[in-house]
């Protein structure tokens, strides 16, 4: 379970001070599928980064499975990234020098989990429908394929919480739907998913929608409600 308690995040000082998150509180239960939506600059990506420990909060607390992670040292954050939280980025962020399979292997490499690593990674590539592209480098893959590799990579460490920042932002609608189905499948398999998007069509697939504006939560809708 994830809890965000009164989190604020500001950038810069004095006149250049920008408030990205303004006293946000949010609770995400295990197995939930939350979409954070809002216009550009509303703070949704910042919120995601704060949840994943990629960025420090200015005030407030982030608690993951009963442990405060907002004030963790770098070395302890490594542990969180290896065991608890995985990311899927809009820009895929695959390493260009590695093949699809090797990119999926990468998190296991850093964990030092070498036993059966290739088998695990191959299975995940099968799951995202890319087993035939395993030996291709990212520049030989389409955007949708790259994103599916990134999803396989996010799954390889069996992290329970998957954070996705506009995962369909760079692909066409059809491909985007395929990717979204993968997220739904992941959610059915028990992963908790928090996804940032400004695409309301995608938001409809979620169990819960959190709408941000100017760094604050302006609306919260659970699936089935007709609020949006």
């Amino acid at each position: 379970m994830l809890e965000v308690r009164s989190v604020s995040k500001t950038y810069g000082e004095g006149a250049a001070r920008v408030v990205a998150l303004n006293n946000i509180s949010l609770r995400v239960d295990d197995g939930d599928f939350v979409v954070i939506t809002g216009p550009s600059g509303s703070g949704k990506s910042t919120l995601l980064n704060v949840i994943g420990g990629l960025e420090r909060v200015s005030s407030g607390e982030v608690i993951l499975d009963g442990v405060r992670i907002d004030n963790l040292k770098e070395n302890d954050l490594v542990h969180i990234r290896r065991r608890k939280v995985a990311y899927v980025f809009q820009q895929y962020h695959l390493l260009p020098s590695l093949t699809a399979l090797e990119n999926v292997l990468l998190p296991l490499t850093f964990c030092g989990l070498k036993k059966d690593d290739v088998r695990k990674a191959t299975e995940l590539l099968q799951k995202v429908g890319l087993e035939k592209r395993a030996e291709h480098k990212p520049n030989e893959l389409s955007g949708g394929e790259q994103q599916r590799v990134a999803i396989a990579r996010a799954l390889v460490n069996r992290c329970s919480l998957i954070l996705a920042d506009e995962p369909t932002g760079n692909v066409d609608q059809e491909t985007g739907e395929g990717i979204l189905k993968l997220f739904q499948k992941m959610n059915e398999d028990g992963h908790t998913i928090i996804m940032v998007t400004h695409n309301l069509d995608i938001a409809k697939h979620a169990k819960r929608i959190v709408a941000l504006r100017d760094g604050g939560i302006v609306d919260e809708v659970s699936q089935g409600d007709q609020g949006l």
Partner: protein, 396 residues
């Protein structure tokens, strides 16, 4: 997959960049290798020249000149002491000499090391002309006087065979195969020496035992030339040891003319080494530079790796692996380039220098290159490990 494999794959993708970085190391290493190779060739040449000057040590009978004085009146000098050394003292001299050499070189064993060539000088009449007959050990003499060449014939193999200096042969009108009598001993001339420009040209060389027997000097010699096997052996201290230990014997270290040349060369070499050191330092700054820009270029990759669970230590490790590869490449390139360079500029620095590559420098060159590359990468690697995930991924 292992972490180093990630680095290797990355280097493969950016081959050219890694090569540039390696060149920074290679230039410094090449300068070092070139200087060392040239210096070694120069030293070898001087050692060869030293060899031409003959023995390192001469052992002679200790003769004291005593001034004879009566009040204020000087009556002249009197030489006191034997004109000969007992042959069995050579054994003691050998023990001292070989012992000192072993100590200097740090080796063990009990086989003979130094070459000792005893000689017995007698002036006598041969065919009515006064000549210097030298009793010698052909094998030992040949080792000491490496410049000797026989123009005609061969070295003596039997006790009744002799060789003549070129001038002696002409003066005595003796040719190959002629018999001459040394006192009452008949010997056959089996070889004539090429001219050497030294006293040897005027002398008749007969095996030592034959001369000793003919002149009833059994067990005696006039002097002995000693050459230590190594050019760097401590001849002065060996001379001191012999003088202290064996009475009636005077050992003299033959001052090498080449010593001055050696000193000059050492100075030039120090200067060149300093230059090579500066080149290496400059080169390593180049490596720092390219490694830093490598960090900047790969901020995104570092961010990705940290996002999927790489620790700071792992990021540092990856950069040090890269440094290792760069160092290896730089070391190999540097060794090859430096050797090549020494062939080109060696003869320009020391005239007619015969340069030859020195394989023993390869591993030290590799080690130095890796050390430089790793040292130069420590700071960039540290910087890389501090890359913030959010910043690195946002900036794109």
């Amino acid at each position: 997959m292992k972490i180093y494999q990630v680095t290797v794959k990355d280097i493969r993708r950016r081959r050219r960049r890694a090569l540039y970085t390696a060149l920074g190391v290679a230039i410094g290493i090449a300068a070092f290798i070139a200087v060392l190779t040239i210096a070694r060739a120069g030293e070898e040449r001087i050692y060869r020249e030293m060899d031409k000057y003959g023995p390192n040590l001469m052992v002679m009978p200790a003769i004291h000149d005593v001034d004879l004085q009566l009040g204020d009146l000087t009556l002249g000098t009197l030489a006191v002491g034997d004109n000969y050394i007992a042959e069995d003292k050579l054994l003691e001299i050998r023990q001292i000499t070989d012992g000192a050499i072993r100590e200097a070189l740090g080796i063990a064993g009990d086989e003979d090391i130094a070459t000792i060539a005893p000689k017995l000088y007698i002036t006598t009449a041969v065919k009515g002309t006064a000549v210097m007959v030298v009793g010698f050990e052909p094998e030992q003499e040949r080792l000491i006087k490496s410049w000797w060449t026989i123009s005609d014939g061969r070295y003596p193999e039997q006790q009744d065979e002799a060789i003549l200096g070129a001038r002696a042969s002409a003066a005595l009108d003796v040719d190959l195969g002629d018999n001459i009598s040394i006192k009452e001993q008949e010997v056959t001339v089996v070889g004539i020496l090429d001219e050497t420009g030294s006293n040897d040209d005027y002398q008749v060389f007969v095996p030592l035992a034959t001369v000793q027997r003919a002149f009833e000097k059994e067990g005696l010699i006039s002097s002995a030339d000693i050459r230590a096997l190594c050019s760097s052996c401590p001849v002065e201290s060996i001379a001191d040891l012999v003088n202290d230990a064996i009475p009636g014997v005077r050992a003299v270290a033959v001052k090498q003319i080449a010593q001055t040349e050696m000193n000059l060369m050492a100075k030039v070499n120090r200067f060149m080494l300093a230059l090579a050191g500066i080149t290496l330092v400059v080169g390593s700054f180049g490596v720092v530079n390219t490694m830093m820009s490598s960090v900047h270029q790969r901020v995104k990759d570092i961010g990705i790796m940290k996002a999927v669970g790489a620790s700071r230590l792992q990021i540092v490790t990856m950069f040090l692996y890269e440094a290792l590869v760069v160092g290896l490449m730089g070391g190999i390139l540097g060794y090859i380039a430096g050797t090549f360079l020494s062939y080109v500029i060696g003869p320009l620095i020391y005239e007619d220098l015969a340069v030859s590559y020195v394989l023993q420098y390869f591993l030290p060159a590799l080690a130095l290159a890796i050390l430089v590359a790793v040292m130069a990468s420590v700071y960039p690697a540290f910087r890389a490990s501090k890359v913030s995930v959010a910043d690195s991924l946002r900036s794109l």
